[in-house]
Symmetry: C2
Subunit: 404 residues, 2 copies
Amino acid sequence: MTRNAERPVGPAVFAPVPGFRAASAASGMRYRGRPDLGLLVADPCRGAAGVFTRNLCPAAPVIWSRGITGGRAVLVNAGQANAQTGKKGLEDSRACAEAAAGRCGLKPSEILLASTGVIGDPLNMGALLEALPGLCAGLSPEGLEGFARAILTTDTVVKAERAEGAGPEGAPYTVWGCAKGSGMIAPDMATMLAFVLTDLPCSPAFLLDALRKGAGASFNRITVDGDTSTNDSLFILSSGAAGGPALESAESPGAGRFREILTGLLMNLARRIIDDGEGATKTVTVTVKGAASPREAEAAARAVAESPLVKTAFFGEDPNWGRVLAALGRSGASLDPYRVDLFLDSVHWVKDGIDNGREAEARQVMRRRSYSLTALLGRGDAEASVLTCDLSRGYVEINGSYRS
Amino acid sequence: MTRNAERPVGPAVFAPVPGFRAASAASGMRYRGRPDLGLLVADPCRGAAGVFTRNLCPAAPVIWSRGITGGRAVLVNAGQANAQTGKKGLEDSRACAEAAAGRCGLKPSEILLASTGVIGDPLNMGALLEALPGLCAGLSPEGLEGFARAILTTDTVVKAERAEGAGPEGAPYTVWGCAKGSGMIAPDMATMLAFVLTDLPCSPAFLLDALRKGAGASFNRITVDGDTSTNDSLFILSSGAAGGPALESAESPGAGRFREILTGLLMNLARRIIDDGEGATKTVTVTVKGAASPREAEAAARAVAESPLVKTAFFGEDPNWGRVLAALGRSGASLDPYRVDLFLDSVHWVKDGIDNGREAEARQVMRRRSYSLTALLGRGDAEASVLTCDLSRGYVEINGSYRS
């Protein structure tokens, strides 16, 4: 993956995607003086799909959206999660969908919902419903940037990606996505919302399959703090405006290329989330190779990527490899401690479990904004990667000093 | 458990335990100007036992001590872990045992070893061997306080406990213990060293069984950061100096009472470790009741006790109960989110998964140095408790700013 610090989100990313309109508004429902409502509408809509948190305390908008099979629009609010709000929360979600549908000429069962913010707070329905007419009236093909900004909470930068492809008959199409982070980022599905649009015609079943596989390689491979949220949702909508035959299944012509583009876009969005993790000063790709099984490879990579001691060493730029070995040793993965090799980027940091006399070079790598930490276990052929950030003073400030 | 802030370790705790001598010395092997070597000798020794880290990267002293069946003495150093030091590390451990044995009139196979400090650093054998004669010459019944201080690393206070009991024939006996924390504290076995002495005669087999059960209720139920160390070791030695018949098994007269005393002492030591966790400003007992199984109860309690978002909320004294629900929901424990109740001490914080309107009282509890957080899942009869601390700026400072 490329370094996002070198790849800022420019205005071209927010050019219209054929068949979509978007809008944003400042409702004041929790935040003051900034947009906190977003709306996306596909017109026409060829298909939609979503994947959601596996947390056993799903928010009301998650419960609502899981039940939608013919989604055409997404309404998002930032600041209040509408999670653990009980029957009232479900009623509020329904009322949001009904109000948005009425204003947009859609059915409530076509409105997908997403919320992010403080758990337990009921939605400020008065403020939301008051802002809704203006939100719907503002729908425009030029609205994508405003939408991408309105969904943020503790994020410090907007996160969006755009990719182009050629359909089965050569016609160009676009895949566009935006996301919000930035704490409670962990499997399964980080605390994150992400919205992907394409004008390529795709069936709902194909979209769901492509989205699941793409999420497995991206959003389910990142971690800020090991906490998995009640509200994680990833949506995709297809307008079909690019024309041509629809992708119906993995066997359809062009399906493989579309999936590659989608997965790459999701991976780039995931990286933007980690780069902007709460208080993050480092982005580290933790890769475990040579594990006995894929399950062990992932367990080992996650143990390192989530270890507070390893993450504070990233923050301190301290090449304290013993903490990495200790995390591997408690991960549940089988290993011989004196067969483990560690690399920081290309620096051979630890050889056969012993310091390799490269501390100065290792320290140089750790001064970078972004680098890789690779562990070779020498037990088999399985490997896994997890993208993580450091644990900094800033994380504690953000999460300990006020209610985010 | 009582609050340790109200129960400082006074000089009476360090009165001699019949049949034991202890010593400490400043070797300068890593730390400067403070004691970093400790020695305990039982004379005579009726039995000894140890339990050790389950990390797959055990330190050389752990490998050495696991192989000892007739231990009579323990040699400890602080500052260098002698972990991931390969064959050289094992040779160094053997040389330590041989040197200490020669000076004390014991066999090397009677010397248990423990080290704590930076992983990967080889032992500074020159400094250690130079300090050893003075260490052994200093052995004295009055040496327990010096020993308890010499084993510390980032700990800010000495941790020791003393309890008295009456043997099967009424003769009084003593159980004494000391420990060091204070980061990398997690199951199984925190990063910790602890040493327990008793003058009650006990067989090695009985000691091992009592120690395992006691550790399960104490050191395996605390967490600072979820990281499990390469060096965790808990030893017990019996001098038998109190006289009377030896405890040979759980059925021996007086065995039950001894185990109660031992477990209580280990729980108090564990609490002292959490109270002094790296950067800790809060000690919280997380209890889950009404879980479907003991495994689910423990998983749920650990998920809450180790959640960075929950722990930063403890630090910020922010009654943000949604983070607790989110942690329970991802813990793997089965639950209905609208059947969950939460209590902070006696304040009924969340009722049926919904805010119970007690935020001001909840905030009052969170201002305390020490409190309990109890979750009722309403699924069954199983329960579990985990003792944890908050995640503070201080933790990041200690672990991010220099090599501890």
